[in-house]
Symmetry: C2
């Protein structure tokens, strides 16, 4: 590793000389992944601080081909699930010596090829993309050496798809079925007959899989098909859709929402506009387990996706691929489970 001279003039070579260590040791001291004796690292970092020496990642990235940047592409930074995931990811990436490079998709949640070119221009070591926001074919065209991590849902056949397409990506597969099964069992145990599925954004594969899996499980249990109420993951659309369902069509005795935020919108519509009680008149279940589900106003029963497990799996995938670029494709799997709170029973 060859650190270029920094703006104040101190070089890695000078630090090495004063510390009486090799230049390689100076490089290693700044690389959290490199093996170096703790006291040697401490000495080098102390000297570097005193002499105002900083390795330049931009310069270094031309030499090492590493930028230490991980791109994350999301539709909304401010929706609670995404913001909680980005927060945890950034903490973990920072502790591994990487920084989060944040990008937003278009308002329709799609990604222009131009944005991908733009992202590639920053030379990220890895990119985390959600399968609903960009097709693999588009991604393959533009992302060169970056390692994309795909987040998929309940996908049994993706390894087979890889073989067909010739595009091999590491990925995280979120198995949503288990939590949904538990949710249905709970509602059936409370003898709910008319169950609504409050849908997510039409472009969301996660929501599509949730709806599909729910219908399948209810049919297998001999229950009537769920009533599909349109939604887009937001509080406002959920609030309006539930009002319309109860006022124009018929009410239901349970609502399974595609995410927690729309479950909040549904609960507020039931309580403040329809004068109904939760859970006595209508039971409500969400999906995600964001921090706000514990707020007393909601106390929401929800299908939990373990954020810590999810972020740890993403970090493992990124580091493994960077360490061994030729390793075979790895698919990490994540399960879900129901957390029962006051909004049911």
């Amino acid at each position: 590793m060859n650190h270029l001279q920094n703006s104040q003039g101190t070089t890695a070579g000078e630090i090495a000389k004063i510390a009486n260590v090799s230049r390689v040791a100076v490089s290693r001291a700044f690389n959290p992944d490199a093996s170096i004796k703790p006291e040697k690292r401490a000495l080098i970092l102390k000297l570097a601080r005193e002499l105002n020496y900083v390795p330049n990642h931009a310069a270094r990235s031309l030499v090492t081909k590493r930028s230490h940047l991980v791109g994350v592409i999301v539709p909304d930074v401010c929706s609670p699930w995404e913001s909680q995931e980005i927060d945890a990811l950034t903490t973990s990436l920072q502790s591994e010596g990487f920084a989060t490079l944040l990008f937003k998709t278009r308002a329709d949640k799609q990604i222009d090829p131009q944005l991908l070119s733009y992202i590639r221009g920053f030379n990220p070591d890895s990119v985390i993309v959600f399968v609903e926001n960009v097709r693999r074919e588009t991604l393959a065209k533009v992302i060169g050496r970056a390692v994309p991590i795909y987040v998929e849902y309940d996908n049994q056949t993706s390894a087979a798809k890889d073989q067909g397409s010739g595009m091999l990506y590491d990925r995280l597969n979120v198995c949503q079925r288990r939590g949904i099964e538990q949710a249905v069992a709970l509602l059936q145990g409370f003898e709910c007959k008319r169950i609504a599925f409050l849908d997510g954004h039409p472009r969301s594969l996660a929501a599509r899989e949730r709806k599909h899996t729910l219908s399948e499980i209810m049919a297998a249990r001999g229950m009537a098909a769920p009533i599909i109420v349109p939604g887009d993951f937001t509080y406002d659309s959920a609030h309006a859709a539930i009002l319309s369902q109860f006022r124009v069509d018929n009410g239901v005795d349970a609502i399974f929402a595609a995410n927690d935020v729309s479950a909040f919108g549904a609960m507020d519509a039931l309580r403040y506009s329809l004068g109904l009680r939760v859970p006595k008149d209508v039971k409500v279940i969400g999906f995600d387990n964001i921090a706000q589900v514990k707020w007393r106003a909601y106390d929401l029963t929800t299908v939990k996706v373990d954020l810590r497990e999810r972020v740890d799996a993403l970090i493992r995938l990124i580091l493994r691929r960077l360490k061994t670029p030729d390793a075979p494709i790895l698919i990490e799997s994540l399960s879900t489970s129901l957390v029962v709170r006051g909004s049911v029973g």
Copy 2:
């Protein structure tokens, strides 16, 4: 601008030759700020896509001394205000040809000099820092050519301080007084006598200024001093502190919370644990105007900091400083105002 060869082998020179334009034109086509005829830009971008050419920002940054990265350093990405600000910032930066580089402070909201060195290694063009997370002296030692933007509160004397310290930073000054004045007038109008200030994190200068300004205004209006209830901006601490205030000490007839999220915690404690009504028994006011204040369960009266205005001002400061590095220090100011909703009156 000299684009190095990209990994697929196509160079800016080759694109220029095929498009029959100059190499400068190719550079301009990829720079959203550069002036170039729309049809010329379209042609170059089309050819670049077809030939899989992408300018490399890392390589370019060594030549132009621009990385097109803007660092943002926050304690929590997932608190609603921060996530909403980062979302809006990222959208604006992206449309100006920049990318957001995200960093987190320590859990105690301070920034290690080591983190600043680390950030400088990424060579950001600008860094947005919050004055409570890092002292100017620390920042000056480490940030070299990056343009820090300080966010300050109600600071009348900072220009004078600059002169003394020799450290000159552009900044955004959030004038919190106006909204607080309106809040106090409203509470006085409803004849509230015992008013609690539910405090923010002890290290937050924003909260300290809010408390200070509130006390000053109440004294000037001949009202009793506010009762200070400890807090840290979180729902849970607010919930516990309000329970303790009502059960152990005496109740109050109004709560002014240092942010919206702790106002939610206070409201839920009042309603679900203390059996009190909002606004009938206790009036509640928050600060920030995050998206969730409109949720029917809260419908919170709050002091609004206009997010759009705030982000626009930050972007203006960044672009101006990059365009004219020697321009005099600029302080943008932002006012606040009260938005009245159901939690009062």
